[in-house]
């Protein structure tokens, strides 16, 4: 008997609460492994035929019927398998989902006017790449999700400066002035796209890269729209005179 057959028999073996059924299951060829076994002896079919015609069903015909999809009374359905297998499969699924959610890609709703017009005030769902957590691979112009350093919320802003870069500390006034700062090592400078309705580095200073949760790569409006978020920073010819 091959190991595959043994494994399959182990998977579909009835629970411990019916030892008699387990013994008969070992005696009868199982339907799942029948292709790898020699043809069943004629007495096996005779047993099945006799069992179906018997007015008092024996434990052996309960076992054969379970293979046809009829559930036992008081036992889990056969397709669930052993309860321990169900628990293990559930744990594996939860662990895999956690792995993807924390270190791969996650999605979350976003609201607020600070990133207008890139994101709408309401109804936006953001796809966040966790591969860029802690600022890995983030460049100037990217949109990131981060832990707001002054409360426990998660914000979304655009990166304007990385460690060693030079940025304006205030909103550009159009007059050619303003104070600047060099972003310290291990930090970044983030500003919302809607300058008049954003609380960002202009308010609380450089943000530690450790607070970057990921890079926003797409917006999803459920059932209506999917849009990639691209970096708008591009080469320019220079300011034009008004």
């Amino acid at each position: 008997m091959s190991s595959t057959t043994l494994l399959l028999r182990g998977l579909f073996r009835p629970s411990r609460c019916s030892p008699f059924s387990r013994r008969t299951a070992q005696r009868l060829p199982h339907h799942t492994a029948s292709s790898s076994l020699p043809p069943p002896p004629s007495h096996a079919f005779g047993l099945r035929r006799n069992a179906s015609s018997s007015p008092n069903p024996s434990p052996s015909n309960l076992t054969t019927n379970s293979g046809n999809g009829n559930p036992h009374h008081g036992q889990p359905p056969s397709w669930l398998g052993h309860p321990l297998r169900v628990i293990l499969t559930t744990i594996k699924f939860v662990a895999f989902a956690h792995l993807i959610w924390e270190y791969g890609i996650s999605m979350a709703p976003a609201s607020g006017p600070s990133m207008l017009p890139t994101f709408e005030v309401l109804g936006e769902w953001l796809l966040v790449s966790k591969l860029h957590r802690f600022g890995r691979g983030v460049t100037v112009g990217d949109v990131v999700a981060y832990n707001i350093p002054i409360n426990d919320e998660v914000g979304v802003k655009r990166v304007l400066g990385l460690p060693g870069d030079y940025v304006l500390m205030e909103t550009p006034d159009g007059m050619g002035g303003g104070n600047m700062i060099q972003v310290p090592q291990g930090h970044c400078w983030i500003v919302g796209d809607n300058l008049v309705a954003s609380r960002d580095s202009r308010y609380f200073g450089p943000v530690p890269l450790a607070l970057i949760r990921g890079k926003v790569i797409a917006t999803v409006r459920p059932l209506s729209e999917f849009k990639w978020i691209t970096n708008p920073l591009k080469k320019e010819d220079g300011p034009t005179e008004d």
């Binding site: 709408e120 870069d165 940025v167 050619g176 002035g177 310290p184 809607n194 300058l195 008049v196 943000v207």
Partner: protein, 102 residues
């Protein structure tokens, strides 16, 4: 929190860009000081000043005015860095307003 960081006027950006975050002088591959206008490519994108006309409505019209921001991406011996030159090069407003509906 971030360590104390000295601020400086945007007029001093060309001089401030000569020093890296580690306090050491920046040099080009040729060993020259960094010249923002000569050694760095000009980049830019727009941010906005938006006004939600009727915030009490979920689909209120939104009116936005672009604010152009300029950057210089430079390369020194240790890699690349970016300097915002919006104030240094002058800010231009496109003048046209963009209206969107949320």
């Amino acid at each position: 929190m971030a360590p104390p960081c000295p601020s400086f006027s945007s007029h001093y950006l060309p001089a401030a860009a000569q020093v890296g975050p580690d306090g050491k002088a920046r040099k080009t591959e040729g060993g020259r000081p960094i010249d923002l206008a000569r050694d760095c490519e000009l980049l830019g994108f727009a941010q906005y000043e938006c006004l939600v006309s009727r915030p009490e409505l979920p689909d209120s019209p939104v009116q936005c005015w672009p604010v152009q921001r300029w950057f210089r991406r430079c390369r020194d011996k240790k890699g690349t860095f970016t300097a915002e030159t919006t104030a240094w090069e002058g800010t231009t407003s496109a003048g046209s307003s963009k209206t969107s509906t949320s």
